[in-house]
């Protein structure tokens, strides 16, 4: 995981990345009726991104993925929760789902659409965001990179000034430096 080591690997991954994501999209869309669904599709997309980070080096990922994956996860949760809450406006129970059949859609023929897909989309986004974030952060820390940039440290650190336990590890409070 020390950055690009093989030209062949890198080229291959660039192609595979799109293939995997096509499959993920397919899995997401067919989920309600055939094997697939948001969770599986999310894992597939996440592994494609991780593969990309293996090929290009994890340090290059912030340039490709220009936002914090946690935001993706939060958006996913929001989509799922709103899908659940929407029926409340119409006086229906929380998380009731609605379906409709469209006939004669160009290229696809008869299509079955429903709100479960939106819910699954939320699950998908959340799984992608979380899997990517955790693996990227851990990968960065093992490569001697800053695990979290300063802005993220502010975002995720607790406002506690003192460590929770007296037995906390060495922490001299100094800014750390990037090792490479």
């Amino acid at each position: 995981m020390m950055g690009p080591q093989s030209y062949i690997f890198e080229r291959l991954v660039r192609v595979v990345f799109f293939l995997v994501n096509m499959v993920a999209l397919y899995l997401l869309l067919r989920g309600h009726n055939w094997p697939g669904g948001g969770f599986i599709a999310g894992l597939a997309s996440a592994s494609s991104l991780i593969l990309l980070s293996l090929a290009l080096g994890v340090a290059a990922m912030p340039r490709i993925l220009r936002f914090d994956p946690v935001r993706l996860a939060a958006a996913g949760l929001l989509v799922a929760a709103l899908t659940g809450a929407a029926p409340l406006l119409a006086g229906r129970p929380f998380l009731e789902h609605f379906h409709t059949h469209l006939h004669g859609v160009p290229l696809l023929g008869d299509v079955h659409v429903g709100t479960p897909l939106l819910f699954d989309l939320g699950v998908y986004l959340l799984v992608v965001g979380i899997a990517c974030k955790l693996i990227f952060v851990l990968a960065q820390s093992t490569q001697g990179l800053r695990a979290l940039v300063a802005e993220e440290e502010r975002r995720y650190s607790s406002p506690l000034e003192q460590p929770l336990e007296e037995t906390a590890g060495p922490d001299d409070g100094k800014e750390r430096t990037d090792a490479d």
Binding site: M1, G31, H32, N33, W34, P35, G36, G37, F39, I40, L43, A44, A46, S47, I50, V70, A73, A74, L77, A80, A81, G84, F94, L95, H97, H99, G114, P116, F119, D120, G122, V123, L126, I130, K133, L134, I135, V137, L138, A139, S141, T142, Q143, G144, A147, L148, E152, Y156, S157, S158, E165, T167, A168, G169, P170, D171, D172, K174, R176, T177
Partner: protein, 807 residues
């Protein structure tokens, strides 16, 4: 009716959160926006009181969780309307007062009024609630808003300590109340007060449960109303700004305990424990509070302890109340609101204009603040029970009732009478001290130096309250019609007409004696310059409480360190032994009782004999054995991965494509995750050069645990599979998935539709766990030394075994 209820309760609830942002725009003027809430609420409540048709009652209900019997149900009767009007009426005065009290020296006005408005809404909700669950929710909301208000000046240590104590005490006792409510629901069959009051509680075999429920609910009341042994939080809550003290900690919130006792009185007053428990605790608190008030020197502390004392009386009053009903509880409560609310506001004005809180450094303010001085004289006289004030009426009735109660209650009555007499004497003494030592006498130089005149509008609410105390004190017949109208069947017994003069009675003689004795006590105190007056920590209890909190925190830290050590080796055995003993023991017992299980096992293995599955299972076992026996971590990992992918194959054999897909992807992602983490390990460890062998005894334990848990799981799985199926839920979902969820993939319809709520919860937990993990990773910061050792750094993250170094 619904609209009026919404204006009284819903509007403040909605307005509260808005005031925070509004405060950023309007600054301190946001208080006038907030002022609208209590004014509207009072108007709406008065209209409701007219519409309900007192002394009848009305229930207004909206569904919330009907399947559990929990609804937004409100009971409008005399008791709830009386308390609601006290809350909103006092709210009008306090919001007015706060607008002048919180000047530009304070910050965050928006936040303050947001909390205060929410508090008022929570109070109204608590007293108006019909559903006990709703009552509990609002009850806790008052505790939370009180916490926020006490801690409003959070830069000060005393504020934080006071807020934390209040939250812990009222929060904890609130949970006891919840337990009591649930017990009442289990036995009584309903959360609704209207139903319980109408039908009464079942008698007979459930008496024990109901007594326990009563005890728990009364503990909730004691916590909220600062009764012994919880009496210390109220004085410490005085760190809040004075309007808060006047509102929450004298007039309204602390009276919730009194309110709860009044609500429960018709249900529980015939129980053997009711009278002794309430009387012993509450009358004891009454004396304790009065003595502590006499020994305090801080203006607000004097008032706080005297509030504790008066709350003790109000609660004890219900304890001794005869079964046919009590008579004068409203009078006592109203009297307390008049003088204590007034005195708090007076103390606030004094503190505001002089900056001094210690009564020993004050004096001679009469010339500077004549209006306030007059109000204080009246309020103090009301507290002391001088004739011509509501205090006199209240004390006359108090003595009369206590003397009446002495006959049926024997020792208890005598104890209560003694407590009331002692308290009355002490109360006269500190009431006299409060007025005399602040407003009369020579003016100390410190006062002269610091004094700046407060606006007249700030003094207005206190003057109004004092006026009310005198007007109703001189013309008690004005109080008769409203108090009669508000009386509630079951709780109240129709009372005689209030009158100023009852003739020369025993009560009058005692009352005069009390005044004289109190005056004597005050004179003696002045002569000794109150040098003896220092509160012993043994009486305050907060030192014990703080020590308890510290001990608890130490204990949990110790427990966490033991159970959540860095290495799984140190805590896993504990969990596994527990599993083996509990689950294993239960399984063994069940197996011993169900001998047929072995027949099922024989048939099951006979039917399911399938060489392909057996082959896959054998391969999985082989891979697992490899993972255990191999030395290098990378090979171990690959072996484990093989086991995982073979499990996928097994799923395919069982025709579960969704599971197989998930399993493959989870295996991939987990493998990458572990590989990434392996990068942290030192090379030597990766090659398996450091192998730490535990001592033989430990190895034996580990081995037996591993075999035991493995055997247990195998037994359980076999057993579950062998058991003849009876209406398995697994058959229901595939059968209904197309009809109900319009999808053919059962796994997916379960996830997004049938069990969609579970999924929503799970993904929420996932996000929370990720944020927690990021926070934890942040905690691990490497020192510069560690960075100098290269990109991988030293072996960190607790992977070194302590004994490794020694070898």
């Amino acid at each position: 009716m619904t609209l009026a209820l919404f204006i009284a309760l819903g509007l403040p609830l909605l307005l509260g959160p808005l005031l925070g942002p509004l405060g950023r725009v309007f600054g301190r003027r946001v208080g006038w926006v907030a002022f609208g809430a209590p004014v509207l609420a009072t108007a709406a409540l008065l209209w409701l009181a007219r519409e309900v048709g007192l002394p009848g009652s009305r229930v207004i209900e909206f569904p919330w969780i009907p399947s559990l019997g929990i609804n937004l149900s409100f009971l409008l009767d005399g008791l709830s309307l009386f308390f609601a009007l006290v809350v909103s009426g006092m709210g009008v005065l306090v919001f007015w007062y706060a607008n002048f009290y919180l000047d530009d020296h304070y910050e965050h006005h928006g936040r303050f009024y947001a909390y205060l408005t929410l508090f008022m809404a929570a109070m109204l909700g608590t007293v108006l609630a019909n559903n006990l669950m709703l009552l509990f929710v609002f009850w806790e909301l008052t505790g939370i808003t009180s916490f926020l208000l006490i801690g409003f000046l959070h830069e000060e240590e005393s504020s934080r300590v006071g807020a934390r104590q209040a939250l812990l005490i009222t929060g904890f006792t609130g949970l006891l109340l919840l337990a009591g409510v649930l017990m009442v629901r289990q036995v009584g069959g309903s959360f609704d007060l209207s139903v319980l009051l109408r039908e009464g509680l079942p008698v007979g075999e459930h008496r024990g449960w109901l007594t326990a429920a009563m005890l728990l609910m009364l503990l909730g009341a004691f916590g909220k109303s600062a009764q012994f042994p919880f009496h210390f939080w109220l004085p410490n809550a005085m760190a809040a700004p004075t309007p808060v003290s006047a509102y929450l900690h004298s007039a309204t919130m602390v009276k919730l305990g009194v309110f709860l006792c009044a609500r429960l009185f018709p249900l529980f007053n015939e129980y053997e424990l009711w009278a002794p428990l309430l009387s012993w605790v509450a009358f004891g608190t009454m004396v304790l509070g009065a003595v502590l008030a006499l020994q305090s020197h801080d203006l607000k502390a004097i008032l706080a302890f005297s509030t504790v004392s008066q709350l003790g009386y109000l609660i004890g009053y219900y304890g001794l109340g005869p079964a046919r009903g009590v008579e004068y509880d409203y009078l006592h409560i109203l009297n307390h609101v008049f003088y204590k609310g007034g005195l708090f506001m007076i103390a606030g004005v004094v503190i505001h204009s002089t900056g001094i809180q210690d009564i020993r450094q004050l004096g001679g303010l009469w010339r500077r603040l004549p209006w306030l001085g007059a109000a204080c004289a009246v309020a103090a006289a009301t507290m002391a029970g001088v004739i011509g004030t509501t205090g006199f009426l209240s004390k006359e009735m108090m003595l009369k009732e206590i003397f009446e109660a002495m006959r049926p209650h024997g020792t208890l009555g005598a104890y209560a009478a003694g407590c009331v007499l002692v308290t009355s004497v002490v109360k006269v003494a500190f009431a006299a001290r409060f007025f005399t030592n602040v407003f009369l006498g020579p003016e100390p130089p410190a006062v002269k130096e610091h004094f700046h005149a407060p606006p007249l509008a700030l003094q207005l609410p206190a003057v109004l309250l004092a006026t009310a105390a005198v007007v109703f004190g001189l013309a008690p017949m004005l109080l008769d019609p409203p108090l009669h109208a508000l009386s509630v069947a079951g709780l109240h017994h129709p009372s005689d007409h209030l009158a100023l003069w009852h003739g020369v009675t025993l009560e009058l003689a005692v009352s005069t004696g009390v005044l004289l004795a109190g005056a004597g006590l005050y004179v003696w105190g002045q002569r000794t310059q109150w040098r003896w007056a220092r509160i012993s920590p043994a009486l305050r209890f907060d030192a014990f409480f703080e020590a308890g909190v510290r001990m608890f925190s130490k204990f949990t830290k110790w427990l966490t360190r033991v159970l959540q050590a860095d290495r799984p080796v140190s805590y896993l055995p504990l969990i596994l032994v527990f599993t083996l003993v509990v689950v294993g023991g239960w399984t063994a017992r069940a197996l011993a009782m169900e001998w047929r299980v072995f027949d099922w096992l024989a048939t099951a293995t006979g039917e399911n004999g399938d060489w392909l599955r057996a082959f896959a299972a054998a391969l999985i076992s082989l891979a697992v054995v490899g993972a255990v026996l191999l030395k290098q971590w990378t090979t171990q990992l690959i072996s484990l991965s093989i086991a995982g992918f073979l499990t996928t194959f097994y799923f395919v054999l069982y025709r579960a494509p969704d599971l197989a897909l998930t399993q493959i992807l989870v295996e991939v992602v987990t493998l990458i995750l572990v590989l990434v983490l392996l990068g942290r390990f030192p090379r030597s460890a990766e090659r398996g050069e450091h192998t730490w062998r535990p001592p033989p005894l430990r190895r034996a334990l580990n081995l037996s645990l591993a075999v035991g848990v493995g055997g247990l799981m195998t037994t359980l799985v076999l057993w579950m599979n062998a058991r003849p199926a009876a209406g398995r839920i697994g058959d229901w979902f595939p059968a209904h998935t197309e009809a109900l969820a319009e999808g053919t993939n059962t796994v997916n319809t379960i996830l997004v539709d049938f069990r969609g709520f579970d999924t929503l919860g799970e993904i929420t937990v996932l996000l929370i766990a990720t944020l927690g993990a990021l926070g934890l990773l942040m905690r691990y910061k490497r020192t510069p030394e560690e960075y100098r050792q290269g990109p991988l750094g030293p072996a960190g993250m607790g992977l070194h075994h302590p004994e490794e170094g020694k070898q």
